[in-house]
Symmetry: C2
DNA sequence: CTGAAAGCGCTTACAG
DNA sequence: CTGAAAGCGCTTACAG
């Protein structure tokens, strides 16, 4: 492989000068610069980024920690992140925790040892070891989708979004409102979205019935099973609508209802969150909430870049959302 | 940051010994090893991978070049790749060409300068600059989804898959078969899938009508527009079925047909390729072909690992597929 | 405007 | 079994 020394020899200058020409740092005469650049072009020389990183302590790489790689939300976010990062000459080092809390911590350490300039984490839960690891890493970290205490966080507006959806359903007359949530380990999706549902029902003195509530795990199947369980335990006290906190679970629920001969929304209305592509093309089209994931990814990336460049900006920002009313309600 | 020197001092040994203990290379007395390991654990020391990579010329990073990051196929493949790579201690450096041919070439050079141990590329086209760049990089490269001359390639069985789908449709009596393809720049999806369609029609002496053929660009919208154009140009010579080479385009086509009041499959049957999640939940459920993308990703990753370890294995393998018959036909 | 030298944090012959 | 030394390919004060 050609190195900076080779280029220096060929150009008959010191490698110091080559480095300066390459990085536009310090003075290099026009003549020498041209000579060097010509040789660089000719040889196709590319500086070793390992050496560069070892020396400068910057790698031009951002570590991204995903809860699950093959998910529509993740890929939209990564898309947004990549939009802004690749423009700034940064690369993404991708990491997938498979919803495993321990891996989150491991990856933070690993990314740190790879000299990444910053870490973007899509957390699904909040726990002390995670916070400790972030603290210990002592590099810029931005969390998207969850509020991590002491960490620059960009949270979706889960409470309001869920409250709006609940209110809308209630206003449409669906006062017998079932709910499919996820585990409380997840403050954003698990706690906030459920709390808003509960609060809104309470505000109107509507009953919250245990047999109208079920818990899934993000998957379509779990939505299917949750709906089945709600129907079974509710017997002749059936709800008139069901609100699932993710589109995938809503789709699963819809699938089960269809199988059972329910007409949607006449016999049972359904709503989700996420604005998945599928939500638009399924029949009936699903009422849902768009979280603008790609924009959120861009936003998070910019925030991280800001931190890397030591710009002051550690407020907890909120992201926007939009209700999409469709035929399932 | 703690370095190997700090550990060496604390353990009162040379850094050579620390390195040996860390990497299990060469002799280290049990006693010394334990002492070192205790300190490593206590300090949370992690070796700098930049330094390691500079020294050893291996980075433990695999570059992945994607045509489009936020696509179901891509995320499934990356998922599979990550399955096997993360198990072997490798990390993924992700790169998105946004279907831009020039970026493909740039990224190969960039990844090379980052000392990646190998590159996995999901090519969508074949061109000389790309082949040259791969040649010039002189590191292990595996191509998935396309046959690149001179490059270890793992191609889907596009011709046979498309031929099977065409035959199946023909056998069901849909002899007036329309086709939505993509650009011929893409040998696999563009050329092979179309060629199989043409060959099968020819075999049975069935007419191939220009106004039954349209070209899209992978997107749902383009399928919608393609279907519209077919209907308009066909006037009273309408096809009885349409075969789109991707699920997304099939979904778009279905959307347009539904809008126009077509009953599916009674008035017009539809088939796609890809086995997207959506294909299963859309109404009517879409007949399609599963390419086992995740397994393909695993397979490609293993192939690449094999090349990195200098195992002999540069044949062009073929991947399998499976027809999924559903209600849209 | 240019170069010699030191050093980033590792690993690996080589010598003992 | 252990260590001193060289070197991977860069950048950056420092000196001229």
């Amino acid at each position: 492989m050609t190195t900076i020394n080779d280029i220096a020899k060929m150009a008959d200058v010191s490698r110091t000068t080559v480095s300066r020409a390459l990085n536009d740092s310090g003075y290099v005469s026009e003549e020498v610069r041209n000579k060097i650049m010509a040789i660089v072009k000719e040889t196709g020389y590319m500086p070793s980024l390992s050496a560069k990183s070892l020396r400068t302590k910057r790698s031009g790489v951002i570590g991204v920690i995903l809860p699950k790689i093959s998910t529509e939300t993740s890929s939209r976010v990564v898309n947004g992140v990549n939009d802004v990062l690749s423009n700034e000459g940064f690369q993404i080092l991708l990491t997938d925790t498979e919803l495993n809390k321990q891996k989150e911590v491991e990856y933070i350490r690993l990314l740190k040892s790879r000299h990444v300039d910053g870490i973007l984490i899509l957390a699904t839960n909040v726990n002390q070891p995670l916070l400790d690891a972030i603290q210990a890493a002592a590099i810029p970290v931005v969390c998207l989708g969850q509020k991590l205490p002491g960490v620059t966080s960009l949270a979706y507006n889960d409470y309001d979004a869920s409250a709006d959806m609940t209110t809308m359903l209630l206003n449409k007359g669906y006062t017998r409102l079932a709910f499919i949530g996820i585990s409380n380990d997840d403050p954003a999706v698990g706690q906030l979205r459920e709390q808003a549902y509960l609060d809104k029902l309470k505000e109107r003195n509507l009953p919250v019935k245990d047999h109208w509530m079920a818990v899934g795990d993000f998957s379509i199947d779990s939505g299917y099973e949750a709906m089945k369980s709600i129907l079974h335990t509710s017997k002749d006290d059936l709800p008139s609508a069901v609100f699932a906190v993710t589109d995938r679970m809503a789709v699963g629920a819809m699938e089960y209802l269809k199988e059972q001969g329910f007409r949607i929304p006449a016999d049972m209305a359904i709503a989700g969150i996420g604005a998945s592509v599928m939500s638009k093309y399924i029949t009936p089209a699903l009422t849902t909430i768009d979280y603008y994931n790609q924009e959120a990814g861009q936003h998070a990336a910019r925030l991280l870049l800001g931190k890397i460049n030591h710009e002051q900006n550690s407020e907890k920002l909120k992201l926007s959302y939009r209700l999409i009313l469709r035929d399932s309600v």
